[in-house]
């Protein structure tokens, strides 16, 4: 957990995240890869700016969705790790 709190997250080189008007959905674009993240992943990805740490992401989501921090923390950390494993995010 200390490790997860340490470094900020950024998009991996070559990865773009943008809203697509045709599909009315957020899309992750990477070389030879392309997917529509689910709504939870989308809310997380919108907060990735190269500056926010996991803690900052969790704080922000807890405030915005009026959810207890402890309830969402584990889920958010798991999703961030998943996005790293899929080559979408780096730290």
């Amino acid at each position: 957990m200390t490790d997860a709190a340490a470094a900020p997250y950024r998009f991996a080189p070559g990865v773009k995240f943008r809203f697509d008007d045709t599909r009315q959905a957020w899309i992750v674009l990477a070389p030879e890869r392309l997917f529509m993240p689910d709504e939870h992943a989308t809310e997380i990805l919108k907060l990735i700016d190269g500056a926010r740490t996991a803690d900052a992401v969790i704080d922000d989501l807890a405030a915005r969705f009026d959810a207890p921090r402890a309830t969402i923390a584990a889920d958010v950390l798991e999703m961030l790790q998943d996005l790293i494993d899929r080559g979408v995010l780096r730290r």
Partner: protein, 364 residues
């Protein structure tokens, strides 16, 4: 809008084959055996219109390929135009014509990613298979320039019988050059590669070694380099979902402006493929007979028609069915359920051949 048009999803990616010109002569080149000449290539205004139409239609990625796309001097303007439309732009190149200035200009024009192909790890066999002296050294230098420019790099390693034994060294080289993604791609047996199949198809033992090499490299490079592995489907039990299904995700435009559901589709007789010079991309996608021909499952013969995999692999590759059976409507012979599967077994039992036919302009 009719019900079927309403259900049709927009395409995801456009493969823009800007030219068939290429300084290399790889014997597994995916271009058709009859190549389009420079004089017949689309002009820049048409390409720009096609890109605009593509973005409007919902295309998200454009892959500039060829031939060698850098052989077009107006490549920069096309990248700038595509990037301005919000398209994800990828350049698929052999690299031998790139230098620092051109890469800087491409990055400045908004290029998102470069995919650079490598034919080998050692200079002599690399240059020999591309039939281009100094190709391998030039590619290494260009890879370094791409990374220095801050452009994300995928190294595409094309493997076959002659270089599979060096796969581990090829992956090391690519990772050392700074590729964030490595694609290990077995030559696919269409066009030039099919003509050279007996000289290129790996043995089963080679393939099993290659699987182990890729697994080991994935473990070593985890978190640093993503490795994608395209296995040769001759050794698979089920075919690939070619292009994720005919007319479902991709549009391929040839240098002269023919719109194809897949780059090899032109080989299929009896289909009049539409030209972007005569029709808009949305008309082509939504109402052309060519894109509807093998879309979905209605066209399927048995055993596909009643198979539970029919919306997973979409019956495999039409061009492969044609190339091997002479009939594009048959189940892809790669499938072990296909009535023509013995053709694959026969190809695997074929004696190996040594000589290669190198890609070149024949009668066009």
């Amino acid at each position: 809008m009719t019900a079927s048009a309403a259900a049709l999803e927009p395409p995801l990616a456009l493969l823009a084959e800007l030219t068939h010109r290429c300084p290399l002569q790889c014997p597994y080149c995916s271009n058709p055996r009859a190549l389009v000449t420079r004089a017949a290539e689309l002009d820049i205004a048409t390409w720009q219109r096609v890109l605009t139409e593509a973005a409007k239609l919902g295309v998200l990625q454009v892959h500039f390929s060829g031939g060698e796309p850098t052989a077009r001097r107006d490549l920069l303007d096309l990248v700038r135009h595509a990037a301005g439309l919000g398209l994800y732009t990828n350049l698929i190149t052999s690299g031998v014509q790139l230098d620092r200035a051109r890469l800087a200009a491409l990055a400045d024009a908004g290029l998102d990613h470069i995919q650079l192909s490598f034919q080998d790890v050692d200079d002599a066999p690399g240059d020999a298979i591309a039939a281009y002296d100094g190709a391998q050294a030039k590619k290494r230098a260009v890879a370094a320039l791409v990374v220095a420019q801050g452009l994300p790099l995928t190294a595409n390693l094309v493997v076959h019988r002659r270089n599979l034994g060096r796969l581990a060294a090829m992956i090391d080289m690519a990772a050392g050059l700074g590729a964030a993604r490595i694609e290990v791609a077995h030559a696919q047996y269409y066009g030039w590669a099919l003509a050279n199949r007996a000289a290129l198809l790996p043995t089963r033992a080679q393939l099993e070694d290659a699987d182990r090499v890729v697994d080991a490299a994935r473990a070593t490079l985890k978190g640093k380099v993503v490795i994608d592995y395209v296995t040769p489907d001759y050794y698979a039990r089920r075919p690939k979902a070619c292009m994720s299904g005919w007319g479902r995700r991709f549009i391929n435009i040839t240098p002269e402006g023919k719109a194809l559901p897949c780059h090899a589709a032109e080989t299929i007789p009896g289909i009049a493929f539409p030209f972007v010079t005569r029709e808009s991309l949305s008309t082509i996608w939504q109402s052309s007979a060519a894109f509807a021909r093998f879309r979905g499952t209605a066209w399927m013969p048995e055993p596909c028609r009643s198979c539970d995999q029919r919306e997973v692999d979409w019956g495999g590759c039409r061009c492969q069915a044609l190339a091997l059976t002479g009939d594009a409507t048959r189940t892809d012979p790669v499938c072990t359920l296909a009535p023509d599967h013995t053709l694959i077994e026969a190809a695997l039992a074929d004696p190996a051949r040594e000589e290669l036919t190198f890609r070149r302009f024949e009668r066009v």
